[in-house]
């Protein structure tokens, strides 16, 4: 499947390059743009894995919700009192050591795991009905707990924001 691999490498490149832009850029808004394209790349990879509903959800929630929230937060607070906030790196040597250690741990774990490899699947079925049915039958309790979780998140965040507003 030549084209499948080609598209996969394209989206993989987009995701990694954007993530690199996000991490290494000094300008916070450029990092946000990098994040935008990283989300887009991941959504493409979800499509290649036959998770069509999940890809659209990725765009809707991450790009439409979380990135908007991030951008609002950054833009509203990037200059407090006229002084620009900067993103830079401090303490490079300890950071390298800790990050390197974590990388080695992850590398070993990923190497030792037995991943069930899917063959480039012949059964690209639409997934929305299956997700709907499963949510209502097998995964009902997690589903209802999600609603409680969302309620807690809303109340908590509104409370914190209200304290800011009153001050």
């Amino acid at each position: 499947m030549g084209f499948y691999d080609l598209i996969f490498w394209l989206f993989a490149f987009i995701s990694v390059a954007s993530a690199a832009l996000m991490v290494f850029s000094k300008n916070v808004i450029y990092s946000a743009v990098g994040l935008l394209f990283a989300f887009f790349g991941v959504a493409g990879i979800y499509v290649l894995l036959a998770a069509d509903f999940l890809a659209i959800v990725q765009i809707m929630i991450y790009v439409g919700g979380i990135l908007v929230l991030l951008l609002f937060g950054v833009m509203l607070s990037h200059k407090i009192g006229g002084i620009q906030l900067e993103t830079g790196t401090l303490n490079k040597i300890p950071a390298f050591i800790v990050a390197g250690g974590i990388f080695i741990i992850f590398f070993r774990v990923i190497n030792k795991t037995v991943w069930p490899l899917r063959t480039t699947a012949k059964e690209f079925n639409p997934t929305v009905e299956k997700i709907g049915t499963l949510l209502m039958t097998d995964y009902l309790i997690p589903f209802e707990i999600v609603s409680v979780l969302l309620l807690i998140a809303l109340i908590g965040a509104a409370y914190i924001a209200r304290k800011e507003r009153v001050q």
Binding site: I7, I61, Q84, V128, G132, L150, L151, L154, R165
Partner: protein, 129 residues
């Protein structure tokens, strides 16, 4: 199914190329004369001072937050709506419990005034010179 998404990808790529082509075309046939006045920031004839930043206004953030919570709820509502016809009363009750939780959230945020945007206040007469 992948064929349909491939159509989408090709379409997005083409639209990017279309916009790029238009910009390039314009770049070749437009005059280029940047004078200091033309490239200054526009403020209806006033001279703009200082950098552009706006007062921190938490209302924007609260609205985006409330939107995010309800967006996640909508993501759960869509698959349910697709299978609703086939699954009957019990699924309806389950979803009503879900929706009820979030309506409680909406009512809380409403009652505590987090959804308010400032109303214009009347300026009392003695504040004018």
């Amino acid at each position: 199914m992948l064929v349909n998404f491939a159509s989408v990808l090709i379409f997005i790529l083409f639209s990017v190329l279309f916009v790029g082509f238009n910009f390039l075309l314009s770049r070749f046939i437009q005059p280029r004369n940047p004078t200091p006045l033309k490239v200054s920031t526009y403020e209806c004839g006033e001279i703009a001072e200082g950098d552009s930043w706006i007062q921190f206004n938490i209302r924007f953030y609260v609205i985006a937050l409330a939107f995010l919570i309800f967006d996640v709820e909508i993501v759960f509502l869509f698959p349910w709506a697709v299978v609703f016809k086939n699954l009957g009363v019990f699924s309806f009750i389950e979803m009503m419990v879900f929706v009820f939780m979030l309506l409680v959230g909406l009512a809380y945020v409403w009652a505590k005034g987090d959804l308010e945007w400032d109303k214009p206040k009347d300026v009392p007469a003695q504040e004018t010179f």
